[in-house]
Amino acid sequence: MAETLSQESGYQSEIMELNLGPHHPSTHGVFRAIVNLDGEIVLNVDPYLGYLHRGYEKTCENKHYHQIIPLAERCDYMAASANSLCFCLAVEKLLGVQAPERAQVIRVMMAELSRIFSHLFWLGTHGHDVGAMTPLFYMLREREEIMNLFELTAGGRLMPNYLRIGGLIRDLEEGFLDRLKDFCDHFDARVDEYETLLTKNAIYMDRTKGIGVLPLEMAIANGASGPMIRGSGLAWDIRKSEPYSGYGNYDFNIPVETGCDVYARYLVRVAEMRESNKILKQTLDLLPGGPIRAEVPGVIYPPQEDIYTKMEALIHHFMMVIEGIKPPVGELYQVIESPRGEMGCYIISDGTGKPHRLKWRGPAFVNLESLNTMGKGYFFADLIAILSSIDIVLAEVDR
């Protein structure tokens, strides 16, 4: 195409190779791509990953199972509790134990708060990427509330590190439930407020409607999951199709859009925030009493007060810290629905205290594979909107 243009007008024209990133504000971290351009039109996008590669899987092979939990949370730091939930469920399945009822409900609380947390930040930065500065400040206001909730009960703000194999590290802090209820009560109105900023905004719609189209068959072929595939018209949510941690007990919908474009993904994520809030309200009603960790001596950590008062608990605790827990020989794959899609943890146990192999299926990594499919044929400025609509977290992409 470029050559014919030049012949007619007498000007020289050629395909331009442009380096995007790794330190570009729109790349949300250290993402680099070589983009081939014909004028303003994108011909090809070739991502170069690995600027944040930490050797996560190799490190996990050299750590005890409990030591992996904080590492896992640093994979997708935007939804830290989702990572530890996936890992804990996988190890619990290996061990054949189940977290008690109360722990499961609190885990759902943490996972859904993480989902809102992640979608909020996505919405803010996505708005920023397409030229709307205002949303970010509103999003950070609610995100701060969630971080305060995490801080109250777990200590950590970004990475709570609150889940443990077999349950939780400690029970909810006093006052947490009141503040969560307060948050749930006003959050729906806040989502309405966000929608006034973008949903019917003519500039935003022009920038996103019909941009970055990913037809459903391409989405499936490329392994896309989460809001990416739901924005392309498939109602697939692992919380519904393979319920874990008691998700079968909650009443919520799967938001689906058929636009296949950036705008559809935006609508799906906004609707998901409302659904997550619906689940949070139900967790408040469903929360039972009881223990917060399973009681399996030698496999699950004993309650903290027992370690100081009971000999057996002290011995078990000592052995578990020194040697780690030893699941039986076997391998399994555990999936959960993270804010970005199918998050999977494939563990091979060889019967020792450390996993023989741990493969982490990061949804952001797989979703990013669709970038070339979605980006071709649009303007370069649209590529930024498309990249942002994938909702990548580079720490999870590179691992």
Binding site: L49, G50, H53, G55, E57, K58, T59, N62, K93, L94, G96, I220, A221, N222, G223, L234, W236, S241, E242, G330, E331, L332, Y333, V335, E342, G344, Y346, I348, H356, R357, K359, R361, F365, V366, E369, D398, R399
Partner: protein, 167 residues
Amino acid sequence: MTQNEIQEKLQAKFDEAIISSVEFRDQISVTVEKEKIPAVCEFLKNDPDLDFNFLSFVGGVDNLPAVPRFEIVYQLYSLKHNHRFRIKTPLEEGASVESVVGIWPTANWHERETAEMFGIVFDNHPDLRKLLLPEEWKVHPLRKDFPLQGSPQDTPDLWPKNTNREE
């Protein structure tokens, strides 16, 4: 379909190619011969009762000092039937396996990652460049004989600055 039904169906079709099947916690892993991987994958994807149209991941496993040393894992999911299945294939050091990018395009990056991390070659892969690691590295970090902290010669970027290192 349950895991057992899928396994029986696979057994009926590829009896001679199946090396072993192991069940653990309601998940079955079937190990097939590496030559049969394209045929088995094709069958799993295209059979209407199985319909594994979604590939979760392709990964490698290093079982040093076992022979054959490596294993390739394919984790599959059917969006239509909502069932999962896992197939594996053993691989000697230096051997190569047929790529499945033609069957599931998403395997592209998974295979690139597996290739650089384990030094496994995928035949007929459209673009087997390095994905996550620096171009100039000649080592494969996820192999069990690769030192955890890296090595001053092979991975100079990883080597701490304050150790004795000849510039």
